[in-house]
Subunit: 149 residues, 2 copies
DNA sequence: GTTCCTGCAAAGGTTTTGCACCATA
DNA sequence: TATGGTGCAAAACCTTTGCAGGAAC
């Protein structure tokens, strides 16, 4: 169950932008709104497609620039994916924390959260010589749809 | 404390190759030996550089092909990295299982293993609708060296 | 001798950069 | 109006593919 309504995220993102003295140009605004509408886990190309289908005349470069900026502001997280284009996903105001299941057959992704996992990682983090600030966990497998076929 | 001597890995890799009916050509052999010598976490470009500095005349394509094949055989694992080239790391005979700490300042990586973490992931895996076959965990932070400066 | 591996070069896809124009604050 | 955002096109980047020659079995 998604805890953060995406409308909240849109506001959060715009707030982060203006807080850091960034203007709300056409492309940037369109990107934030599209992300808010679609939810997380989009790649740049899909986003460009969605925007153009929606009648916006955005340049590819502007979309990449917007995504990079939003990631830098911490309202978006870049998720590297093997052999494809990078995906981006929303980070809510509360620092909204979850991890991913990805289907190695079709590429579908699902999110999950787990208390026990977080605790294990917390304990572990305190034991290392690194100053751990973040973590991510990805489970690979086969999604229900692909298991059927 | 690395549990698997790299010399072991080299043998393991060659065994996997011949078991599956693959020949040991020049480039392939050079890649396996270089990986065995360096240990894990190399990217394709570094590997080409290392080989050429060592006097081998290998083509980039052969290195990519060798890495892809070794990954397919399960003796290498491809690790997608944000904003750079993919890295590959050794998987030992025992299915050798560990995760990574990466320094967001300098890119250094360290490996760790943790029983409690594995248990938490195991329990979690059984609860999802996906058929989970693998997982990876990455902790991001600052390494001891970068904390000093 | 046949099959597979190899290097080279060219193509492919994704992301970044340069630049003139335009819009925001 | 000054600054920064934008689109377009070209470049840079990593990776894959095509192909003729050569090596392994």
């Amino acid at each position: 169950m998604p805890a953060t309504p995406t409308a909240r995220w849109t506001d959060h993102a715009f707030a982060a932008l203006s807080e850091h003295g960034h203007r709300a140009g056409g492309a940037r605004t369109a990107v934030v709104e599209a992300l808010g509408r679609r939810g997380g886990c989009v790649d740049a190309d899909e986003l460009v497609g969605a925007l153009r289908r929606g009648g916006k005349r955005v340049g590819v470069a502007s979309v990449y620039r917007a995504l990079a900026l939003l990631a830098e502001l911490g309202v978006l997280q870049r998720v590297p994916v093997a052999g494809g284009s990078a995906r981006y996903e929303l980070v809510g105001p509360g620092g909204d924390h979850h991890h991913h299941l990805v289907c190695d057959d079709c590429g579908a992704t699902a999110a999950f959260e787990d208390e026990a996992l977080e605790r294990a990682i917390g304990r572990l983090s305190r034991r290392t010589a690194y100053a751990v600030q973040a973590h991510d966990v990805t489970l690979h497998g086969t999604c229900p749809d692909c298991q059927r076929s």
